[in-house]
């Protein structure tokens, strides 16, 4: 108690006041300077640019691949993980680490931080990733697949009224609670459809797929827009009903592969090698005979999803009234006119909703690699289709 | 000096204080802490003595000898293992009722002070009567102000205990106790934490209050000088387990002031008792007594 009053007394006289403040300021400034010098010395200025060094062409490389087994449209990554098609193309001694991202945005953040080198993601995250060139320059190098009902799926609660058409279902969403994982391909799709059809949900919630699942279970949500395979899983578990898709409104969705410009510039050999493997994977995906094995691969790389739901997400045909399609995924691989159109349209929309600063730069899309490889192999884009199969084709439990 | 003779002399003198209350008789008190029959600590060992009414009785002994246990037993905070205590011929505790109930007839003034820091001084002082419902707040405030003026505490009614010095705090606490018109005032080493200069002032203040109120006082200390200065009767305790070693009636006349310290009689008492107290102190030290 006494020392406090002494301190108070010292601040009362103006001389003491000034001296005390001056002392404090000087000591503070000195401390800061010391800290700066310390950091600079320990780190060195040479590293200022923080661009990753990928080594020289031909050298073995360590790659970190961010992929999404919880996103069916990008399952060429799942196939790559299992079949390791990249092995015979990459320089000997290269190591590849696969990291699961629950959402494209997570992979984008990882790539922007320099921690992930190859990304498998949906259309919105892919376009967003190219718009942060000031942090890291990223390019879209391949098209994993295009679809009408891979991202773009509307689900409602099971006790929603029976709709005569997808249009009616969409109108019903007006004034309802709709949830979506924001920043994903479904977000773009949902907002685009709402705008076009003039639908205003009472609540547009940003929730992750787990929270949406719980929400349906607790009957708190009226609807959600979610990508495969979660959509099929919710239907399989009888938690939600499918009522419309991109097919109902003629809106495509797409999955893309993204790589940092630094990797492309420094190691075109690696890019080519990986894309060779990707082509093999997409060809494998397009062969109906592999359906069961693909479903099993997906099951082994995910948790909490029944194998049947995973199979259905790629190979089941849903009724037309719920926006079902015969061709689940068009395996474009290269940049078909459809793919290019999707990118332009999506980019324009994202600028409108202030997701990105400006439309996608022309050089952000790099079709050269895939077109070269296709030519060398005598193939054309799209390289295949994932066709819907009858339910009898599912031979699992 | 025959304890018996002194006892009877005292009895006659007490009779002159008509309606003097607060006579405490401690009969064969025993206190064992912990498990009985092995593993227990014997704190009080068959203690018997009287506290005459209307007088200051001081109990002196080394720290931790068990004198506070006795005080707590009278106050009702601890139980006895055996023996009994009587207040004005009413049994406070004894066989069948090992623990007394705390009450406003036996108010305690604590060692480190127990004035409620969140109440003002006057709120503290009027706490007893107001809680018991025997006075309205206004009445209590009036009486409190009068008592505070008497005790030289005028002007600090609306201050908090934290704003006044510790010596003044003690006086407020004593006034708080006296507000309840207790039969006996129990003081548990109240001046232990004060410096010796403040202590000497406190002693005179306590005596002043005593002369005005004539309440029975039961005072515990480890300071022999304090004991002889204040007390009508001094009980010197052995080290743990405590038992009265020597009981002295201090015949230095009241009212006393600090000139008494250089008084020849005072010196004689000190000589008489110092050896005994010192002996117990050494025993306590050897036994490794810790401060409570």
């Amino acid at each position: 108690m006494r020392s406090k009053s002494e301190t108070c007394a010292c601040f009362i006289s103006s001389d003491g006041h000034r001296r005390a403040v001056r002392r404090l300021v000087v000591s503070f400034a000195l401390a800061l300077c010391a800290a700066f010098v310390q950091i600079c010395l320990s780190v060195g200025f040479a590293d200022a640019a923080a661009v990753k060094d990928y080594g020289k062409p031909g050298e073995p490389i360590d790659l970190v691949v961010g992929y999404q087994p919880y996103y069916t449209e990008s399952w060429s990554g799942v196939i790559m993980h299992d079949k390791k098609f990249y092995e015979k193309y990459l320089p000997k001694g290269s190591k590849v680490e696969f990291q699961i991202g629950l959402q494209g945005a997570i992979i984008v953040n990882g790539m922007l931080a320099g921690k992930v080198d190859v990304g498998y993601m949906g259309d919105m995250p892919a376009i967003v990733s190219t718009s942060h060139a000031d942090v890291r320059d990223m390019r879209i190098v391949s098209v994993l697949g295009l679809g009408y009902d891979q991202c773009n799926i509307f689900l409602t609660r099971t006790d929603a009224p029976e709709f005569k058409s997808p249009d009616e279902a969409l109108k019903w969403l007006d004034g309802k609670t709709v949830a979506v994982p924001k920043g994903s391909c479904t977000d773009r799709f949902a907002q685009a459809v709402f705008k076009e059809k003039n639908i205003k949900p009472s609540e547009y919630l940003n929730q992750s797929i787990e929270v949406i699942t719980s929400g349906f279970r607790a009957k708190k949500l009226d609807a959600a827009v979610i990508w495969e395979p979660t959509a099929s899983r919710l239907i399989e578990d009888n938690l939600a009903r499918r009522v419309a898709s991109g097919a109902s409104v003629n809106e495509r969705d797409g999955g893309f592969m993204v790589m940092p410009a630094a990797l492309i510039e420094q190691r075109p050999d690696v890019v080519k090698a990986w894309l060779q493997g990707e082509l093999d994977a997409e060809l494998y995906f397009g062969d109906s005979k592999n359906a069961m094995s693909i479903a099993q691969m997906a099951a082994s790389q995910t948790t909490g999803f029944p194998e049947k739901a995973l199979w259905a997400s790629a190979f089941a045909q849903y009724p037309k009234s719920a926006g079902g399609t015969e061709n689940r995924i068009t395996l474009a691989y290269g940049f078909t006119p459809d793919a290019k159109e999707l990118i332009q349209k999506a980019s324009k929309f994202l600028v409108e909703i202030k997701s990105i600063k400006s439309e996608i730069r022309p050089d952000a899309v790099m079709p050269q690699f895939t077109s070269d490889i296709l030519k060398a192999r005598g193939l054309n884009a799209p390289v295949g289709d994932v066709k819907a199969l009858p339910l009898s084709a599912y031979t699992g439990k | 000096m025959n304890v018996q003779a002194i006892e009877s002399a005292r009895a006659t003198q007490s009779a002159t204080f008509a309606a003097a209350k607060g006579r405490v008789r401690i009969v064969d008190a025993v206190k064992i802490y912990g498990v009985q029959g092995g593993g227990g600590v014997l704190a009080v060992d068959h203690c018997t003595f009287d506290v005459p009414p209307g007088e200051i009785t001081v109990v002196v002994g080394p720290s931790g000898c068990g004198k506070t246990t006795l005080l707590n037993a009278i106050a009702g905070f601890h139980s006895l293992s055996a023996g009994s205590i009587y207040l004005d011929d009413e049994m406070l505790c004894g066989p069948g009722k090992l623990k007394a109930e705390p009450g406003p007839d036996r108010v305690v003034v604590f060692q480190n002070g127990a004035l409620f820091p969140w109440k003002t001084n006057i709120e503290n002082i009027t706490f007893g009567p107001v809680m018991q419902g025997i006075m309205s707040r206004a009445e209590a405030n009036d009486k409190a102000r009068a008592m505070m003026t008497d005790a030289g505490l005028r002007g600090i009614e609306n201050n908090y205990p934290g704003e006044i010095s510790s010596g003044v705090r003690r006086r407020v606490e004593i006034v708080r106790a006296l507000m309840n018109d207790p039969k006996i005032l129990l003081l548990d080493e109240p001046y232990r934490a004060l410096d010796s200069l403040t202590k000497s002032v406190m002693h005179e203040a306590l005596l002043e209050i005593f002369y005005k109120n004539r309440v029975t006082i039961f005072f515990i200390t480890h300071d022999l000088e304090e004991a002889i200065f204040l007390g009508h009767r001094v009980v010197i305790m052995t080290t743990r387990p405590c038992k009265p070693k020597k009981i002295l009636d201090i015949d230095i006349p009241h009212p006393r002031n600090y000139s008494v310290l250089t008084n020849k009689r005072f010196r004689e008492f000190m000589e008489e008792t110092a050896a005994a107290v010192h002996e117990e102190a050494i025993k306590a030290f050897d036994a490794g007594e810790r401060e409570r």
């Binding site: 108690m1 108070c8 601040f11 009362i12 006041h17 005390a20 404090l24 300021v25 503070f28 800061l32 800290a35 700066f36 200025f45 200022a48 640019a49 923080a50 959402q103 945005a105 922007l112 320099g114 967003v128 942060h132 942090v135 890291r136 949830a179 924001k182 920043g183 609540e203 919630l205 940003n206 929730q207 787990e210 929270v211 719980s214 708190k220 997701s355 | 106050a75 009702g76 705390p102 009450g103 108010v107 305690v108 604590f110 480190n112 127990a114 409620f116 820091p117 007893g128 809680m131 018991q132 102000r145 005028r154 002007g155 600090i156 609306n158 201050n159 908090y160 934290g162 704003e163 309840n180």
Partner: protein, 304 residues
């Protein structure tokens, strides 16, 4: 000038002591006095210097020197540019109404959750400290549930509570409640037994001891607990708002992450920090006001 004020103030006290009057120095006057003293002391200016140092370091590390792990962060020019821009790139700045909506929604949730946590936590803590029997029944369960982080309660919260607001408030309430209850209990246990004894030998009954000794005696600890609890409520809010999905500062930060809007993340964090600081300070001031005896102890220590 401040010297005169102090003696003036002390003079008021002496005057009253002389007159022997019983007028109180009002708590409000004392609070205002302390506030004016604070503004005249160097303290606010040192605070500003502290912040300036922090911002300076951020600026230099990210934008000037581009230190390795710092170069990819948004720098203060980008963040402040966005924050105070009339037409922000990502749609959020001090000029957009959504910004204040987010602040309002979060603050409202915190207020409700904190109020509930205090209304339930303080009495519970008081009883846990006061009654040994009660503590024996309740404390083990309490301690078992306490380490479970709010994030782990998300799925149960969604199922247990109706609507979308209640689960968020529940998640925010949890950690706040534990901090308050625990500190209150410790507050009661910290009360010197002499106070309880003094009260009982002055004739107070058990409930009077509770009201006049236990509750005020535990107040310092309770307020410490409240300050911690409001801070913890803000922590939990970010987890809680994952469930909500529509407005709030936690939602803003979550969404900015998935939308890859880095400057907005920092804006959200900074706003959270500022509002959180303000709520904490408000509680501290309230505590000081309610515990006048401590404040007087400290401020009039100079006069003595």
């Amino acid at each position: 000038m401040s010297e005169t004020k102090l003696t003036e103030f002390a003079g008021v006290v002496d005057q009253q002591a002389e007159q022997g009057s019983a007028t109180k120095i009002t708590s409000w006057a004392l609070t205002m006095y302390r506030w004016s003293q604070w503004l005249q002391s160097p303290r606010p200016y040192l605070m500003v210097i502290g912040f300036a140092g922090f911002l300076g370091f951020w600026y230099l590390a990210v934008e000037v020197w581009k230190l390795p792990r710092f170069a990819e962060m948004p720098g203060p020019t980008q963040v402040f540019g966005e924050w105070f821009s009339k037409d922000p790139t990502y749609g959020l700045s001090v000029f957009t109404p959504e910004y204040y909506l987010h602040i309002w929604v979060s603050t409202r949730r915190i207020a409700i959750a904190f109020f509930l946590a205090t209304a339930i936590g303080v009495p519970l803590g008081l009883f846990l400290g006061w009654s040994v029997r009660f503590k024996q029944y309740v404390f083990p369960v309490f301690e078992l549930l306490r380490p479970i982080p709010p994030l782990a309660w998300v799925p149960l919260a969604i199922v247990m509570f109706r609507g979308s607001e209640t689960p968020v408030i529940f998640l925010t309430f949890l950690a706040s409640f534990y901090a308050t209850a625990l500190n209150t209990m410790l507050g009661v246990e910290s009360i010197d037994v002499s106070f309880v004894r003094a009260a009982s030998c002055l004739g107070a009954k058990r409930w009077q001891v509770f009201r006049h000794v236990i509750v005020p005696g535990a107040l310092p600890f309770i307020f410490t607990g409240l300050q911690i609890s409001v801070g913890v409520a803000w922590f939990s809010l970010v987890a809680g708002e994952m469930v909500s999905g529509q407005y709030g500062l936690g939602y803003l930060i979550n969404t900015s992450y998935t939308m890859v809007r880095y400057p907005t993340i920092v804006i959200g964090m900074a706003t959270l920090g500022i509002v959180g600081y303000a709520t904490s300070a408000a509680i501290r001031l309230l505590g000081n006001y309610m515990m006048q005896w401590r404040m007087r102890e400290l401020s009039l220590g100079a006069a003595r």
